[in-house]
Symmetry: C2
Subunit: 144 residues, 2 copies
DNA sequence: AGTAGTCGTAACGTTAGTTGTTACGACTGT
DNA sequence: ACAGTCGTAACAACTAACGTTACGACTACT
C-alpha cells in the first residue's frame, strides 16, 4: 500500500501548536512547524488548511499571523484528523468494473464492500479512541 | 490515501478458483480469472504468484496448466491474503526525520508508532475474522 | 520428437497521488 | 507604507499501481 504521511504530519502540527500555546504563545507559523517536521512550510499550510475546514484550527493573516487551535487538544481525536486529511477509502475496489456476466464478477463488489465497510468502522472507532492530548502526552514521555 | 485494489483482486481470484473447483474443474487459468476481473492475465499471475509464496495456491505449468487452491477457502482468511499482497504499513511516518532538537520532533515518531501499531493490530484481527469462504458465500448471496 | 497451451518474469509506458519547491497576490499589525 | 505571513496556483520529482507486450520455460498430448 502506498502509505502516505498526511495523518502523521497533521498530528505533528497539532501537537506542536498545542505545546507552543501552553508555553504562552498566541499563534504558531507554518515556518516554525515546518522546521520541526523537517518539511516545507507550504506542505504545512496545505494540511492545516484542511484542518481549518474541519474546524480544528484557525488562522490569522497579516503581520504576527499564524495558526492556533480552534478546539482543545483533548477534544480532537485522531479520527477528526483522519477525516480532515485522508480523502479516499482504506481499500479500493476494482479499477475497471468486473465482468457482470460472471457470478463472481457480479457479486464480488457488494461482498467486498460489506467487508471493507465493517473494517473501516472498526478502524474509525480505534482512531476515535486516541485524542491529540494522548498523542502530546506520549510525545513528551519519550526519553531523550 | 492512495488506496490500491490488490486485496480486492486477490480475493476475487481466490473466490473464482474456489467456485470453479466446486464445479468440478481441476485448475483455473489466469486468462479466465482476468476475464472475470476485467484486467490483464499478467496482473493475475503476479498476484497469484505472491499468494503461492504464502502457500495459499499452487500452479501447474505446461498444457492444461493453471491455478488451484492449496488450502480450503474456509481456512484462508483475509489477513492471509493481506499479508501476502500488501507490502507496507497502513500509515507512514515522516518521510524526512523530524528535527531532533525539537521536543515534538524528537518524540513524535515513537508516539505515533505506538498508536499506529495498536491500530494495525486491530485491523489485522478484523481481517482474520473473515474467511474466503465467508466472502464466496456473500458473493453468491448477491441477487442478480 | 514436436506442438500447443500456460506459466514466470522482465521490461516499459501510463496514470495517479504525494511531496517538495517557487512564486506571487491578499491581508493586517505596526 | 511596510513587512511578515497566509492562501493558493503551478510545476517538478518521486513513487506505486496498473496495463501491456514479449519471450523463455515447462509439460500434456499427439
Amino acid at each position: 500500500m502506498s502509505a502516505n504521511s498526511r495523518l502523521t504530519i497533521a498530528a505533528h502540527a497539532l501537537a506542536w501548536i498545542g505545546l507552543y500555546q501552553r508555553e504562552g504563545h498566541e499563534v504558531a507559523t507554518s515556518e516554525q512547524i515546518a522546521t520541526s517536521a523537517n518539511t516545507n512550510p507550504v506542505v504545512i499550510r496545505r494540511l492545516l488548511g484542511e484542518l481549518r475546514k474541519a474546524g480544528l484550527v484557525e488562522s490569522r493573516r497579516g503581520v504576527g499571523a499564524g495558526w492556533s487551535l480552534a478546539r482543545e487538544l483533548e477534544s480532537i481525536t485522531l479520527l477528526d484528523v483522519y477525516d480532515a486529511v485522508e480523502p479516499g477509502p482504506l481499500f479500493a475496489l476494482h479499477r475497471a468494473t468486473p465482468n457482470q456476466g460472471c457470478v463472481v464478477g457480479h457479486g464480488i463488489r457488494p461482498a467486498m464492500q460489506g467487508v471493507y465497510g465493517g473494517i473501516e468502522e472498526t478502524l474509525r472507532a480505534e482512531l476515535a479512541r486516541v485524542t491529540m492530548e494522548d498523542v502530546l502526552r506520549d510525545v513528551l514521555a519519550v526519553p531523550r
